[in-house]
């Protein structure tokens, strides 16, 4: 309950900040959308940083480094330090100057002018808003997950199906409403103030929590030593031989591979279910007693013991190759035998060769398969503060039951490194900053070009301050154990989005957990607010004012129209968040890739005189077409390891966009002399 109280107080304070900033509001739409170009260096730094660091930076980076290891920092954080500042420097300052000179509020206004095309706005508007929605989705989804995880057990009887915590759908809804409220009251000025305050909050609380967590784990060196002993591959970007031995086995060293052991279990379960295998009760009892590892609630003993006995006794040797393949696919919840006949089996399942783990992993896991854990472990599930029936510890949450199911049923993850080509092409992802519409709007709030200097210089260091603790924490959690029970704090196959809140909850007291949650929510909300404001600004400026005429509506009416549109987009995003969640990191990378694919367009429009209207159309269509095709091909972000020719999809998207833009621009008439003089004045 303490956590819930702290979160509530924090949200109330934010609302108070919204009311305070509304007193500074000058009542004009320009003030509402651009804070009258009045933001100085410090607030510009904080609002730019707060806007770019979202759930992706905290929740996503911790979860991803838990899955992929320490190399995650190089994938996005250090490259962002170079590229984000580059974008502020090369694009931001120049766009600020043009925006101030010609009165732009949105990107589309700039493109319409520079490309001498009114219709380019009609093409760009749905694309930009469409790409902001997944970005919003990341924050909305993550806030629900974080609040639900951290408030488990806060209620005595309510919300049992959500482990007696605030349901994610309710938490996400409250966050959306709070952000909407302070954006509505304060506009861009309120957003900038809230961003600054929230960025300070999440940076300070993040660092304090990191110190406490590392201390609980036994100190910095001890935490890292555990990883070196248990999961050394997480410390680097290739696979450590010790992990290979542990997974594949090593006859010379007498190590039995974890995957082979799991196959025995899968085959035994399959033979029981589909081939009528039944052990003699006495043999089964002896096999259970002989198995050395109990596992959670003795489950490993009960399931693995009989499986190894059956294997030793040759009871699994009559399984055909097709049976062996089906056994692993079913056990890993990647396939269900269709009711009826064998002929209807998926054609990818071979009956002539045993499928490799890699081939098995090309079948996506069946959504919600881990719910089976709720039935298997029903007797252990209850209120997380109640004592367990065994007298040891407390009752399990529903999440824990599903987690134990995943950890004990599914195949161990094969150790894997990072592909150097994939790593290299990740460099294209941060280019998205150049095309984020909400950052464009933030750039225009600057008081002067010199205001950008602090943001350009400090941004890489700020990224480091936030990302290094998160990545370290994710890596440590792969091997951290509970100091009392010795059980892993985060089990295998744990949902990456929940690693950070689960670690904080397990290793800190309720007060710290509540404060850190406030910090995580601060990071999430400091992005959501800018994005909310931006979609409203784009709608009123690029669609309503542009087509209805500048004087058709009063400032007050325009602000109301912006607010209505914001509510519609937020409602749509909220609805999407109620569906099957994706990994925050994966979804973020897809969203950023879409914006990055338009980067050549903004760069060329500022620095290449020969860019033409039709060249821009070609670029936008190539970017949108390639993004839609690849996103669908990656099963709408469900395939987290999707690549094109072994490299990140964004590399292909940018290449296609650039080629289309250059070729079409060169074969079409150049822009008019007036436009060239306006955007490329002769240097003095």
């Amino acid at each position: 309950m303490t956590q819930l109280i702290i979160i509530s107080i924090y949200l109330a304070l934010l609302l108070g900040l919204g009311f305070f900033s509304s007193r500074l509001f000058r009542g004009t739409s320009k003030d509402y959308m651009l804070a009258s170009h009045s933001i100085g260096p410090f607030m510009l730094l904080m609002s730019l940083f707060g806007t770019t660091m979202t759930a992706f930076a905290l929740v996503g980076s911790t979860g991803e480094s838990f899955k992929e290891g320490a190399g995650v920092y190089g994938l996005l954080a250090s490259s962002s330090g170079i590229i984000h500042s580059l974008c502020f420097f090369v694009l931001g300052v120049k766009l600020w100057s043009l925006g101030k000179k010609h009165g732009y509020t949105t990107q589309i206004q700039f493109f319409r002018d520079r490309l001498e095309s009114d219709r380019i706005g009609i093409l760009l508007f749905p694309i930009l808003v469409g790409l902001i929605i997944p970005y919003l989705l990341i924050g909305v989804m993550a806030s629900g997950t974080v609040i639900n995880s951290i408030t488990e057990g806060a209620f005595t009887t309510a919300f049992a199906q959500y482990d007696y915590g605030v349901p994610p759908w309710l938490a996400s809804l409250v966050i959306c409403l709070v952000v909407l409220t302070y954006v509505f009251f304060g506009g861009m000025r309120g957003t900038a103030i809230a961003n600054t305050a929230q960025t300070i909050v999440f940076m300070i609380l993040g660092l304090i929590t990191f110190v406490i967590v590392s201390d609980k784990l036994g100190g910095l060196e001890e935490s890292t030593n555990k990883v070196l002993a248990k999961n050394p591959s997480k410390m680097m970007r290739s696979v450590d031989p010790a992990d290979t031995d542990s997974y594949h086995g090593n006859v010379e060293k007498g190590i039995e591979g974890s995957y082979d052991k799991w196959i025995v279990f899968a085959q035994y379960e399959y033979a029981k279910e589909y081939k009528g295998l039944k052990l003699d009760p006495a043999d089964e009892k002896a096999a259970i007693a002989a198995f050395p590892i109990a596992g959670p609630a003795g489950y490993l003993k009960k399931t693995r013991g009989p499986a190894f006995f059956a294997k030793k006794a040759g009871l699994l040797s009559n399984l055909s190759i097709l049976d062996q393949n089906l056994a692993v696919l079913i056990q890993d919840n990647r396939y269900e035998i269709p009711k009826g006949i064998k002929g209807a089996l998926d054609k990818r399942i071979s009956d002539s060769s045993v499928m490799t783990h890699h081939q098995i992993m090309t079948f996506p896991r069946l959504p919600g398969a881990d719910r089976e854990g709720l039935a298997i472990f029903a007797q252990f599930v209850g209120h997380p503060t109640e004592k367990a029936a065994s007298g040891k510890g407390t009752k399990w949450t529903r999440k824990k039951a599903k987690g134990v199911f995943r950890a004990t049923h599914w195949a161990p993850d094969p150790p894997h490194g990072m592909d150097p080509w994939k790593f290299l092409t990740y460099f294209f992802v941060p280019l998205s900053v150049g095309m984020f519409p909400h950052l464009f709007q933030h750039w225009l709030t600057a008081k002067s070009a010199a205001s950008f200097k602090l943001a350009v210089v400090a941004h890489p260091i700020f990224i480091m301050i936030v990302w290094v603790p998160c990545v370290l924490l994710g890596v440590w959690m792969t091997s951290a154990t509970d100091p009392i029970s010795g059980a892993p704090i985060i089990a295998a196959h744990f949902p990456p989005n929940a690693v950070l809140p689960a670690a904080v909850k397990a290793l800190t007291g309720p007060l710290m957990a509540g404060l850190l949650t406030a910090g995580i929510l601060a990071a999430i909300m400091s992005s959501l607010d800018s994005q909310f404001l931006c979609v409203g600004t784009m709608f009123t400026t690029d669609i309503i004012s542009h087509y209805a005429g500048k004087n058709r509506f009063t400032d007050k009416q325009l602000i109301t129209i912006a607010r209505v549109f914001i509510v519609l987009i937020v409602a749509l995003t909220y609805l999407f968040s109620l569906f099957e969640p994706r990994r925050v990191f994966t979804l973020g990378v897809w969203c950023f890739s879409g914006f990055s694919s338009l980067f050549p367009l903004i760069l060329a429009s500022l620095y290449w005189k020969r860019l033409t209207k039709l060249g821009a159309y070609a670029a936008i269509l190539a970017a949108a077409g390639s993004w839609i095709y690849m996103f669908a091909d990656a099963n709408y972000a469900a395939n987290a390891n999707y690549t094109v020719f072994g490299v990140m999809p964004v590399a292909t998207m940018i290449t296609l966009t650039t080629i289309a833009m250059i070729v079409v621009s060169l074969i079409t008439p150049p822009p008019s002399k007036e436009t060239l003089e306006k955007f490329f004045p002769a240097e003095k």
Binding site: G81, M236, S238, P460, M464
Partner: protein, 89 residues
């Protein structure tokens, strides 16, 4: 130093950062730096610091100038201008 020369230096340093970022030589190094930090993380934290230094240099030797870059009013303690600096275009 003229601005063109400053820009060339910055372009060169950014290219160097990009090359150093792809630290293939650290790929299978699991030794912790300072006893706790994976090399894969420590090296790239260094890249972040390096980036900050390069961008600091950029603000000194390659910063663009604009006709309208002069602030038109003084700042308040909250970081805002006391008067509206820009008229609607």
């Amino acid at each position: 130093m003229n601005k063109r020369c400053g820009k060339c230096i910055i372009i060169g340093l950014v290219c160097l950062l990009i090359v150093l970022h792809h630290d293939i030589w650290n790929w299978d190094n699991k030794d912790p730096v300072f006893g706790f930090m994976p090399v894969a993380l420590a090296w790239h934290a260094g890249i972040s610091i390096g980036a900050s230094l390069v961008w600091y240099l950029a603000t000194r030797i390659a910063w663009p100038t604009f006709d309208d870059d002069e602030p038109t009013s003084s700042m308040t303690s909250e970081g805002f201008c006391e008067s509206n600096p820009v008229e609607d275009a």
